[in-house]
Symmetry: C2
Subunit: 394 residues, 2 copies
């Protein structure tokens, strides 16, 4: 039995943030019914990579979910939505703030048909505040949260995190909020409204950068791959490229000096404490370390450092990471037989629940693949369903 078995989620989200949230819920057993625009569907159905004219982007994010098409602008569509909501536990949406109310399915309307509903929203800036009504993409949230200002190299531009973490992290926070709300409802019988915002999310993960400003009065700057408070803790040139290493303790420093054949550095007053190593890191200490690392390949260094107990990593590209024996043993790629794309490999499930593991039990649905089945389950006759199709409402 999956932990969220029996929970039904009405999923009005599209693109990345909301679907990432409901993917977590679906992976752990929730029955997620994704509602899409007739004939068009989630905008991510057109996002690459494409194969056979179908989107692998959509496919990996929407596994384990059902797809029903509904025209929410029509009275018929809205009525079906409200019928679905009546027997559901959660409704998720990531429209621009105010859109649900305009459609006539805001929190008040939804609560009327299901007072115990958990109504969960994602937006760029949140439900209130001067910017709440503005549209935002991930790149805007990354820029305004401060995370770009502390990512990248000091002599280059503020740098966006490659993948859209404003989207995916906000989706994960919403999933966490939903699970807490489900637990609370189990105890009290009460549903509630939740919301998370992309800018808030990214601001909440700036680590000590926030207290660096509010407590120490400093404005944190970019430091490339180097840790500003530990040294040597950075990326380093090696014989065949670049790798990372973190010398986090004095014991590791001693070990590294021995490996480098430079035991005299262990107690050198420039390097004998972490503080001193930080002060004298650039350019001297970094050069000393690279004089050594440039004599070895990544693979040689990996073996040496693993044996020495010094955290070290090759900088893998996505193919190397995907094919790595460690990620394989953790089942971080799973195969799914997609109705449009055929057998494909998609990212697996990072949360390992040992007794109730998550599972990719079905591929993403084609647009509206489950419409008729779901409408039938609501008691609609075949004639009525046929009519709805003809009218373009489903």
């Amino acid at each position: 039995m999956k932990p969220l078995a029996g929970i039904r989620v009405i999923d009005l989200t599209q693109a990345y943030s909301g679907p990432f949230c409901t993917m977590h819920l679906a992976d752990f057993g929730a029955d997620v019914i994704k509602i899409e625009r007739p004939g068009v569907g989630d905008q991510s159905r057109t996002w690459g990579p494409m194969k056979n004219d179908y989107s692998a982007y959509y496919a990996f994010l929407n596994r384990n979910k059902k797809s029903i098409t509904l025209d929410l602008g029509s009275q018929a569509g809205k009525e079906i939505l409200l019928k679905l909501v009546r027997d559901s536990d959660v409704i998720c949406e990531n429209f621009r703030v105010g859109t649900m109310e305009k459609l006539g399915v805001g929190y008040e309307e939804i609560q009327k048909v299901n007072p115990e509903i958990i109504y969960a929203s994602i937006s760029g800036f949140g439900l209130e505040g001067p910017l709440s009504k503005l549209p935002a993409y991930d790149i805007v949230a990354q820029a305004m949260s401060g995370i770009m200002s502390i990512t990248g190299f000091p002599d280059n531009l503020p740098t966006k995190v490659g993948p859209s973490i404003g989207d995916n992290y906000t989706g994960t926070y919403l999933a966490l909020g939903i699970c807490m709300a489900l637990y609370h409802r189990k105890q009290t019988g009460k549903g509630q409204r939740l919301d998370v915002a992309m800018v808030d999310t990214l601001f909440s993960i700036l680590e000590n950068a926030v207290v660096e400003y509010t407590v120490a009065g400093n404005i944190p700057i970019r430091s490339g791959n180097a840790d500003p408070g530990i040294a040597p803790f950075d990326s380093f040139e090696v014989k065949d490229g670049t790798a990372v290493m973190g010398v986090g303790t004095n014991a590791m420093w001693k070990k590294l000096c021995e490996l480098m054949g430079r035991p005299e550095l262990i107690n050198d007053p420039r390097y004998n404490t972490n503080d001193n190593r930080c002060k004298n890191y650039m350019p001297d200490l970094k050069s000393i370390v690279e004089d050594y690392t440039r004599t070895k390949t990544k693979v040689e260094l990996e073996q040496i450092m693993n044996e020495a107990g010094i955290p070290f990593g090759q900088i893998l590209n996505v193919a190397e990471a995907a094919d790595h024996p460690q990620l394989k043993s953790r089942e971080m790629l799973v195969e799914v037989d997609d109705p449009a794309l055929g057998k494909i490999k998609i990212p697996g499930i990072p949360i390992k629940m040992h007794d109730t593991p998550g599972e990719v039990r079905k591929a993403a649905s084609l647009l509206g693949q489950d419409t008729d089945e779901i409408l039938s389950s609501l008691g609609l006759s075949n004639e009525k369903i046929k009519l709805l199709h003809e009218q373009g409402f489903v």
Copy 2:
């Protein structure tokens, strides 16, 4: 009533990943008892920024938690831990894999005293697989997950995300797993083991980069701040610095051309579709856009783009983000009266539960501040507690 009220968490974690997990739980009402080494405490108690010799890093992460010191290497310390576990719901740890077993408090031992416990672990690589026993820091997880290979500029090095997202995201995933496990336990009475790994976590948030490899056969590369699939969608030079803008639809493109005073570009065959704009983005289209954006300041452009409905953002530094009226209205900084640091501002709570909001209700504890109170609650006499202090076990 907070959603996790009544849940007791025994928190053996230190540094960033585990404490970030238990911070979420504590913010929403769980009673988190943090166990620290007598006389030393969590290593993050020495991490900057420091003020009055106390760590603001520790302070923001460990608000809402209690601190008890326990020497887990001693029989007395272990016995107290097991007593605490008996009446708890969750135990969290982020030691190197195998350490809990060596201490004699592995899952089997813990289950013996509390069969319904939820036992939750964070590690660099996970509990199984060839690398499971290796130590890992955030930078190693970032390198090996592939995320560094797709962050940064193509003519520069693979780039680490500034804050340690290998730590914080893994902590958030564990919190999500714990809440699902609590929900499952409420239904079935059964606890279980959970684990999450930093490398798995970061691999799971690479967005479409994974299917780009597994489905399309491409190895994704760094593209700086530009979106590889949408254009213009990037950072741009403006009169007084750099800002970001995302032109995500043809309607926005039309609007932008009008704003730039270049209506002839709307249907220009080089730019009339998103595909064509991507193909001709570098260097031509980017130059055209910057010819315009360089004539305006960030503030001017923000106003223009907000009115036009084109997502736009200033690249804020951490101070500007912290002081932004939008983040203020979302209470993303909260004041806490810390026993060591005085009144300080720390990051607020990004998950907004409207009926059962999270709350920063107490500051982080001094090392061992709650030891005596907790030992008393276990029925230990004052004499016994005094003796344990003298023996250095607490």
